[in-house]
């Protein structure tokens, strides 16, 4: 994004510039390090089958992390996405199994596309409610989405009285027999869900860097008042990011229900925390205004590879949690160092210019 290194006139800058470049690419460096480490330490880690397996694990988190990144860039947070995953997978399960009872003995069944559309709409609606709470009723994002975390989880449990919807194989008569393919199908050798991730990630990165909406998202997080006075429709921007986060959660809900061919109301517990971790690891600033989709994806991969690799090495899951936590904290510490260094370099350039 910035071309600080090539336009720096100052001589003592060359060392700092190298360091800055290294710090900027830190998530990528971390990814290479964990890859290298597990290729050596864990047997079969580098096989194609394992790579696809890890990617599938990562994808679940990456969807949520992409939505979370937008929310965090605006200076907010969405704690409800994990619960929305549970709720939307239950909705998917209900639609596949029971359809919608329209009364008078009629029941409406849907095909796979219709089910996917309805589930996505449900996720967007939850995001819309979050957005209304935050922009119109001035509830702090943390509180609004914390409330939604409980409400959505409770609703998911109420759907089935806490039971699992089993055997979501669909019915060819209604065109819903393709439902399991969302999570298990492959296209050109890659799982469908990976293709979906690629499309979503490219779309999100495009929004972030090449549309006015994306610029407005960054401006809102950087200085809400200033953005509003510059003509940015701050409320609309916030509505968008929460609705987008809801959509991401719905996609994950669909994928999980389809993969397992079952919908369990406890699905997605603590997913929101993994999503936040991936975003932060990828360089998203919790105070808003800073973050990139590519960084988030890499962050999701670092976390995913770390946990899968440690499992393959046979490290206990207790140690895995400790390691994951340390990596996240280290990422933020390095992030702070980078911001300081970057400010110093830019200031040095301006001083050199004004001399």
């Amino acid at each position: 994004m910035t071309s600080t290194s090539d336009s720096a006139p100052a001589k003592p800058g060359s060392n700092t510039n190298w360091l800055l470049l290294l710090l900027k690419a830190r998530t990528f460096v971390a990814l290479l390090l964990v890859l290298a480490f597990f290729s050596v330490m864990a047997p079969n880690f580098l096989s194609t089958a394992n790579a696809i397996l890890v990617s599938k694990h990562v994808a679940i988190n990456a969807f949520l992390a992409i939505g979370m990144t937008f929310v965090i860039i605006t200076g907010g947070i969405d704690l409800s996405v994990g619960s929305v995953v549970g709720l939307t997978s239950m909705i998917a399960g209900w639609l596949v199994l029971n359809g919608i009872d329209v009364g008078m003995g009629w029941t409406l069944y849907f095909n796979t596309f219709e089910i996917a559309a309805i589930v996505c709409l449900a996720g967007i609606t939850v995001g819309w409610i979050n957005g209304i709470l935050i922009t119109r009723l001035n509830v702090a994002p943390f509180i609004a989405t914390l409330g939604m975390l409980y409400v959505a989880r409770g609703a998911a449990l109420l759907f089935s009285g806490g039971r699992t919807f089993p055997n979501l194989n669909g019915n060819p008569e209604y065109g819903s027999d393709t439902f399991p393919l969302i999570g298990t199908g492959t296209f050109l050798g890659l799982p469908v869900m990976i293709w979906m991730l690629i499309v979503v990630a490219l779309g999100a990165a495009y929004i972030a860097s090449r549309t006015p909406l994306g610029r407005h998202i960054y401006a809102t997080g950087g200085n809400e008042r200033g953005a509003a006075l510059s003509g940015v429709r701050v409320r609309r921007v916030k509505m968008f990011v929460y609705m987008f986060a809801g959509l991401m959660a719905a996609i994950v809900g669909l994928i999980i229900a389809s993969q397992l061919r079952a919908a369990h109301p406890a699905t997605g517990e603590f997913f929101e925390l993994n999503a936040i971790a991936a975003a932060v690891l990828g360089g998203t600033s919790m105070s808003g205004g800073r973050g990139r989709i590519a960084g988030t994806i890499i962050g999701a991969f670092v976390i995913g590879i770390l946990s899968d690799g440690l499992i393959m090495m046979g490290v206990s899951s207790f140690w895995q949690m400790v390691v994951k936590g340390l990596v996240i904290i280290a990422a933020v510490v390095i992030d702070q160092a980078q911001s300081r260094l970057q400010a110093k370099v830019a200031l040095a350039q301006e001083v050199a210019l004004n001399k």
Binding site: M1, T2, S3, T4, S7, A8, P9, S209, R210, T211, P212, L213, G214, R215, H216, Y218, A219, G222, N223, R225, G226, A227, A228, L229, S230, G231, V232, R233, G289, R290, Q342, A343, A346, L347, Q349, E350, A352, L353, N354
Partner: protein
């Protein structure tokens, strides 16, 4: 500079500053300043914004250190490295913006961070309350130490702030614009407190822009202009023209000459704009005005006169405001900033940091933020077009920047201001609203911005600019409107008399005018 001898005897000098010079990168804030604070008297300090008053006070309060020069208390040189050093030497300061905790009680506020405690951990609430009560008695104020601070009126909160300074045994009390937020009755209370403190031998430094008030309350007056002392004497025989003369002086800053163009037809009109104030009354009290194409309209007044609020009303920041705006004779009904920008209104806000810029974004992203849709087809933002347009405006505004992708925060204040103005201009405005456009920037950048304003007016843009700088409003405006207490209290053409403009700006004149209208 010489002070009458007999006054020197009745009011001993408590603190002297000799040869004070303070250099900031790029500007000299104080040049060889001598200043005496006399005990048991009110030492008035007056000067325009940026004259160096607040720097001088920060030096005395230990917030800043001098580049050269010395501070003596009772003949002994002292060095204040931190605020605590100054407090230990009996110096208390009450800033214009009160530094209080609204959700805590009065006594907790008074003893904030200095709570008397048993064994260093257990706060002695009884003692805290007792001593607060004593202080309130000394100030003759009936304020219960247990009241939550936020429930007090603003005048009472100020009393609490004064009590806080006195609780630290302040012998010298600096009051920075203490009356700017007070009602007339509260001002009287404050003056009574000042009289009592004087009688107790406290030396008071009083900073204000309200000249009648200074003459009434002051014993000694010191006038600062561009970091230099231009007048220092006892208050006897001082009148407003003398102060204005000392404040503004003969030599003028570079305001660049008017380009001598004709004005076009009216581009903007406000009719009966009213913005209700919390607790009754109006921040903006039914203001009507108009500006013609190519005209520079100066909106002068003191802090709290409602000038910035009026501009905010134009920019749709106060949905509760009433009244109508017209651009090119068509009513502006747009409810949102972006709609108003599209109608040709652009605002350069007063507080650059808070309202004008997104600090963590680059210069390019800031300057194009209001105009992104110019480079957008459907939803695709052309980064190439954006960069080209940003470069064009950086050149036009003569912003000094190594790379347009550097963060805005790395620029100097003057260059940041040019970016804010550039952002406003990129939207292609018909009417440019500028709130204190020259605040906090150095003289060179000021001259450039004045020059720019002239050039824009010559291009047919109507400019409304708000300022508290008398010299600026007199030199730059084609027409001056003075506001006080939310009303328009005077209108002057080019070449207006400085003393008349100041008189119109005082809140008292607004009141008497209102009375005239009633009777």
């Amino acid at each position: 500079m010489t002070l009458p001898q007999q006054n020197g005897e009745t009011h001993p000098v408590g603190l002297t500053i000799r040869g004070a010079t303070k250099v900031y990168p790029g500007t000299v804030a104080l040049k060889d300043v001598d200043f005496d604070i006399r005990m048991g008297a009110v030492n008035v300090l007056v000067g325009e914004n940026g004259a160096g008053k607040s720097t001088l006070m920060k030096v005395i309060a230990g917030v800043e250190t001098l580049t050269s020069g010395e501070i003596c208390i009772k003949g002994q040189p002292v060095h204040f490295r931190t605020k605590d050093d100054a407090v230990a030497n009996g110096i208390g300061i009450v800033f214009q913006e009160l530094n209080l905790f609204p959700d805590m009680s009065v006594s907790e506020n008074v003893f904030m961070a200095r709570e008397p405690a048993r064994f260093g951990i257990d706060i002695d609430h009884v003692l805290v309350e007792e001593r607060t009560r004593e202080l309130m008695q000394r100030l003759e104020q009936d304020i219960d130490p247990n009241t939550t601070l936020g429930h007090l009126r603003i005048g009472q909160q100020q009393v609490v702030e004064i009590a806080k300074a006195l609780a630290q045994d302040a012998r010298i009390l600096i009051l920075d614009e203490p009356t700017s937020a007070l009602s007339a009755a509260e001002v009287e209370v404050l003056f009574r407190i000042i009289d009592e403190l004087k009688a107790q031998g406290v030396g008071i430094v009083y900073i204000s822009h309200r000249l009648e008030e200074l003459i009434r309350v002051g014993d000694y007056i010191t006038v600062l202009r561009d970091g230099e002392i231009t007048g220092s004497r006892s208050m006897q025989g001082v009148d407003i023209p003398w102060i204005v003369q000392a404040m503004i002086g003969e030599k003028s800053k570079d305001f660049s000459e008017s380009l001598g163009h004709e004005f076009g037809k009216e581009v903007f009109r406000a009719e009966e704009i009213a913005l209700p104030k919390m607790g009754g009354g109006f921040m903006v009290d039914h203001v009507s005005l108009s500006v013609r194409a190519g005209e520079i309209l100066g909106l002068y007044g003191l802090m709290g006169a409602g000038r910035s609020e009026f501009l905010e009303c134009i920019m749709a920041q106060h949905p509760e405001a009433r009244g109508r705006f017209f651009v090119d004779d068509r009513e502006m009904r747009e409810k949102h900033v972006s709609g108003r920008i599209a109608r040709g209104i652009a605002l350069v806000p007063e507080d650059r940091k808070r309202d004008g810029l997104v600090q963590i974004m680059s210069v390019r992203e800031n300057i194009t933020l209001s105009s992104l849709f110019q480079f957008t087809t459907l939803f695709h933002l052309s980064l190439r077009k954006e960069a080209a347009r940003a470069a064009e405006f950086i050149r036009r505004m003569t912003v000094k920047v190594a790379s347009p992708d550097n963060p805005i925060s790395s620029l100097s204040g003057g260059n940041q201001q040019k970016v804010v103005i550039g952002k406003a201009l990129m939207t292609g405005p018909k009417v440019l609203l500028m709130d204190e456009p020259s605040r906090g920037i150095d003289i060179g950048a000021k001259a450039e911005i004045y020059h720019k304003m002239r050039a824009l007016a010559a291009d047919g843009i109507g400019i409304i600019f708000v300022t508290s700088d008398l010299e600026e409003v007199l030199a730059l405006s084609d027409r001056i409107i003075v506001m006080a207490n939310g009303c328009i209290s005077g209108e002057f053409g080019r070449g207006a008399n400085a003393a008349e403009v100041i008189a119109a700006a005082s809140p008292a004149s607004a009141k008497s005018k209102n009375k005239d209208m009633v009777s």
